[in-house]
């Protein structure tokens, strides 16, 4: 999902960089206040761990393989603010050291894979856990949150590409969303299995974070950042009102972007005339079915993991 350079125009790069700077700046402030100095080396090592763990290839059907992305994994292990800082440093190193992901697109990549993925994943994990208490509910929450975070990040990515006029929404969104709905299943499975294995050997690494409460300020600012991303990059395309984007463009004073977008005439215009209601409804329905299926699979996975985890886990003495 790393966007290379050349795919985003300067306007999108600037907008995403601004939002990322705000989000990461706030995360750094929160982390400096709430992460004890003892855990600062742990953050650096977790960043290196995410990078190394991404080198482990999990076999998928037909000779292909997938790897961990780790947004929810790090969020659960370190908490949301530290996770944003850790994932941002992973992306910075990948960009500057390995030229993986563009340097002008760094803002967009941080926005999708560090901010949206980690924060939405963490929020969904907390929400599902509240509904389904117990150990099984915990794994259900982890797997489902990992799936959601992958899909949400990919949708934001498609929105940014469409904003730049590189890949039109009607072509990019179904492709990105469908592929990542499948990739997300793998991500959910890996995240749940890795966390189950960590819980089996060192439960205190996870439990000390479980009691942590998210402050009101964190909820507000992070919610605002994610909402701004969705409102800016996804809502204009997904809304049933055809002139949503033009209204936003006029309000924010960059009407020239219409010219940029018209470089790529999209069949979306035809959809509008043919009855946008049905197209939007079909998309919403497909999304709802996909989410329900992922939730069901996460539920089955949690049922598969927990008996194993219970039978193999003797009560450890507190270290």
């Amino acid at each position: 999902m790393h966007i290379p350079d050349g795919f985003l125009d300067a306007r999108t790069a600037a907008a995403t960089a601004g939002l990322s700077l705000a989000g990461v700046g706030f995360a750094l402030r929160q982390a400096r206040r709430h992460v004890p100095p003892r855990n600062v080396p742990l953050m650096g090592l977790t960043a290196a761990f995410v990078f190394a763990a991404q080198m482990l290839n999990f076999p998928v059907a037909g000779g292909t393989s997938g790897h961990l992305m780790g947004a929810v994994l790090v969020g659960v292990l370190l908490g949301p603010s530290a996770a944003v800082v850790v994932l941002t440093s992973v992306l910075i190193v990948q960009c500057l050291l390995f030229a993986d992901g563009g340097v002008l697109a760094l803002g967009a990549n941080v926005l999708n894979m560090a901010l949206v993925a980690a924060l939405s994943g963490y929020a969904i994990h907390r929400a599902v856990r509240r509904l389904f208490p117990g150990e099984r509910g915990w794994f259900l929450a982890v797997a489902f949150a990992a799936w959601c975070s992958t899909v949400l990040a990919s949708i934001c990515c498609a929105g940014e590409l469409a904003w730049s006029g590189t890949v039109s929404w009607s072509a990019g969104f179904p492709a990105m969303a469908n592929v990542h709905m499948l990739i997300g299943l793998g991500e959910g499975l890996i995240t749940a299995l890795v966390l189950a294995a960590i819980r089996r050997t060192r439960p205190e690494l996870i439990d000390h974070n479980e009691s942590a409460r998210t402050g009101l300020g964190e909820v507000l600012v992070y919610g605002l950042v994610v909402a701004a991303v969705l409102a800016l990059f996804v809502a204009p395309f997904a809304s049933p009102w055809p002139d949503g984007l033009e209204k936003v463009a006029a309000a924010l004073g960059f009407g020239h972007q219409a010219a940029v977008r018209s470089l790529v005439p999209s069949p979306w215009a035809g959809y509008r005339l043919a009855g946008i209601g049905s197209a939007a409804a079909a998309t919403a329905l497909a999304g709802a079915i996909g989410t329900a299926v992922a939730f069901g699979l996460a539920f089955l996975l949690a049922r598969a993991i927990v008996p194993v985890a219970k039978s193999r886990k003797p009560p450890l003495p507190q270290a």
């Binding site: 400096r32 030229a99 009607s170 966390l195």
Partner: protein, 203 residues
């Protein structure tokens, strides 16, 4: 092997290597920005940037094959995203433009990362007043990246030498426990590093 990964050519002696890291970063950013801002259909700015990059690569005395290999290694990602644009009307033109642009940007960044030691970038960030926590996390990540990659290799080798059954579920669960073990070891290493840092007067 890991040392090659982490900047084997970044300490050569050449005019490009001797240039200050800030100047190199600005030049790389300028090249990328010039490529991105080039409108569809005009090739002259792209050709100019390509010439500058070629000259810089020649001056840097890095074996061209090595640079080419790095670019080819990363090209599939650009190709994958660009493939999405084929699906739309006028896709072929957009596809070619976008591919040319992203390949040029990729070359610029590969060259930049090959001629700039990461420690210089960390110094640059510190001077540019990037928050200290960010720089510390980046420095620690860079320092322990090769250590953890080697550790992951050892864990994988140990698992491979003990696993005789080829079952997909087993492959997933055992790889997951390799990853989990890697995290547990990283966190233990983190505790030792903290003790060592404190012993040397950190904070």
């Amino acid at each position: 092997m890991r040392l090659e990964l982490l900047g084997r050519y970044s300490r050569l002696q050449s005019p490009v290597h001797r240039t200050k890291a800030s100047a190199k970063l600005l030049l790389a950013l300028a090249a990328v920005l010039a490529v991105v801002l080039t409108p569809v259909g005009s090739a002259w700015p792209l050709a100019a940037v390509a010439l500058v990059l070629l000259a810089a690569a020649a001056l840097s005395r890095i074996p061209p094959a090595q640079l080419g290999k790095r670019v080819l290694l990363l090209e599939p990602f650009a190709l994958g995203v660009a493939a999405l644009s084929v699906l739309q009307p006028h896709g072929a033109a957009v596809f070619l433009t976008v591919l040319a642009k992203s390949t040029l940007c990729l070359c610029a960044m590969v060259l930049f990362s090959a001629v700039t030691p990461f420690s210089d970038l960390l110094q640059l960030m510190r001077r540019a007043r990037v928050p200290a926590l960010m720089v510390t996390v980046l420095a620690l990540m860079y320092r322990y990246l090769s250590v953890l990659l080697d550790e992951a290799d050892r864990l994988k080798r140990a698992r491979a030498s003990r696993t005789f059954v080829r079952r997909r579920w087993l492959a997933w669960t055992s790889l997951a426990s390799v990853a989990a073990q890697l995290f547990v070891r990283s966190s233990e290493r983190g505790e030792r590093i903290y003790a060592a840092m404190r012993a040397r007067g950190w904070r």
